[in-house]
């Protein structure tokens, strides 16, 4: 027996497998967190896209005469040890880090969904093998596994994506599998089978739309997590290559100046925190939005 917590936290909405669309938009509108989060996120994306227009300086331009300047009118966030404008770098960093977060989350999400669905739906050998694989990967210390994979491939963001894809899918697999186990015995699935729908059809039209929700909520949190992971890898020297203005790299480069020029590390750190908060708002909001109705 496996105590599967996903069973106790299932968010699948109704018995009929089809969502009532009427109240959804209303509910969404009334959900403060979700609206705020989505709004801010849209703003963030806009800033990232418009970075070349908004940035007062070239993020790569060095200025030997103006190194380690504190924040001022000329340089809103100050300059770093090579004289680069930190505000411009943070803006450009948004493009990189948002991309990092989203790309990092896509592969594990897809892999986890596929494997989790197979395991949950078919059971039997598929379930056993896949779940054993999950156990093995899960027992591995996560960070060490990621670092080892990055070590195999070499430093750089591409390789981080690969490492994350190979390691982080297990959460989604478990979530999806748990949901499917609950759902597949419900009436609407039996009904679909009765009328002769293929397995594929059942999964696609009936099961997946319902089980995807937990995973999406989780994915929101993961985006923030992967931005942090990229920063942590940069801290260990395995992240993005210089002179990329990635927030994690900027924090690491500023570490030795922390007592004299705190702004080099602090401000990109703040950017990460703000992005994380926005994503948390979306995640929280989504969770509330998708929670079954209270009586």
């Amino acid at each position: 027996m496996t105590v599967d917590t996903s069973q106790t936290m299932s968010l699948a909405g109704s018995e009929h497998g089809v969502r009532k669309p009427r109240s959804a938009w209303d509910r969404a509108r009334r959900n403060r967190n979700l609206m705020l989060g989505l709004g801010l996120f849209a703003l963030l994306v806009l800033i990232a896209i418009a970075a070349p227009l908004l940035a007062p300086f070239d993020p790569f331009a060095l200025d030997y005469g103006n190194t380690l300047q504190p924040p001022s009118l000329a340089h809103l966030f100050g300059t770093d040890h090579l004289g680069r404008d930190i505000f411009s770098r943070v803006l450009f960093g948004a493009r990189i880090d948002l991309r990092v977060g989203i790309i990092s989350v896509i592969s594990p999400f897809i892999i986890g969904m596929v494997l989790g669905s197979l395991a949950g739906f078919y059971g039997g050998w598929a379930d056993t093998y896949i779940m054993r694989l999950v156990d093995v990967v899960q027992a591995f210390p996560f960070l060490i596994l990621v670092i080892a994979i990055v070590a195999v491939r070499g430093p750089g963001l591409q390789n981080m994506y690969i490492a994350v894809a190979l390691v982080a899918w297990i959460v989604y697999a478990r979530l999806v599998r748990g949901e499917i186990l609950v759902e597949k015995n419900k009436e609407y699935v039996q009904a679909a089978r009765a009328i002769g729908s293929t397995d594929w059809r059942i999964m696609r039209r009936h099961l997946l739309p319902n089980v995807i929700t937990t995973s999406v909520v989780y994915a929101m949190a993961d985006i923030a997590l992967y931005i942090l992971l990229a920063a942590a890898l940069s801290f260990l020297g395995l992240g993005a290559k210089p002179p990329t203005p990635e927030w994690g790299v900027m924090i690491t480069e500023g570490r030795q100046y922390i007592t004299t020029a705190w702004w080099i590390s602090a401000l990109p750190g703040l950017a990460i925190v703000l992005t994380g908060i926005i994503l948390s708002l979306i995640g929280d909001g989504l969770a509330d939005f998708l929670r079954p109705e209270r009586r």
């Binding site: 106790t8 591995f140 210390p141 996560f142 960070l143 994979i149 195999v152 750190g269 990460i272 009586r295």
Partner: protein, 312 residues
Amino acid sequence: MGRGQYILRRLVQMIPVLLGITVIVFFLIRAIPGDPAIAMLGERATEPALERMRHAMGLDKPLYVQYAYFMRDLAKLDLGKSTRYGVPVTEILFTRLRVSLFVVVYTTVLTTLLSLPLGILAALKKDSLFDNIVRSAMMVTLVMPSFWVGIMFIILFSVKLGIFPVSGYGTGFLGHLHHLFLPSLTISLTIAPILIRALRNSILEVMNQDYVKTARAKGLAEQSVMTVHVLRNALIPAVTLLGISIGGLMGGTVITEKVFALPGAGALLIDSITARDYAMLQAGTLVFACLVILVNLATDIIYSFLDPRVRF
């Protein structure tokens, strides 16, 4: 099947998982590019020296033979000799493991101390100012990069205020408590938000359930209602999450160990990757994996005590 049998079954199931891990570790680290002999001896090493080192590390044999030797030694519970330090792996690993585990336990304690009261109070005072402040604060600490938080703590508490030492492990139990407070707090701040949120949510959910209303209607004292019915059920998901987080801490203390310069096992493993100390890496990952599995098992057992629906 009773609980005892269940535990036994899980322990037995551990073996194939560990085997899978040995395979992954073994081949993964050998896939890391770069001649490990050079990692040991430096780039000026002469070719005969490198040959001798490769032979000593057993690298001149085919992979499956190396794996066979590894498994044979493992069967004898021999974890091998560290190529970097020249002493049995266990000597260094276990000393460092003590440090990491101290941090993990300390973190668990701090996290619980933080999360329980805050989670419960936030639930009871739902939507109050207190609730909102706690939730906002937690949202912030959840997304702060832990190495950044660690560095800020050091600057504030160690350098400016001088309350805590800047780094290191300290001597004696009290010394450890003193030195490891900031590192453990740093990690707690990343786990506590998840627990507080989960606790708050599940308390709220449980409080709305029928059986609680029934208990109240029956006239039971509020406190008894709280502890017996509400908490016990509400704790379930929180305990699970705590267990998962603790499991994730195995080997996950690396960043904190580096920031606070703690002689822990996480830092040891990362350094072993760079140094290509295969024996240490293999042994270390296996040990961590065992710990993770045991923590998961413990979580499930505790869960089974809490949730009466669980049947073996």
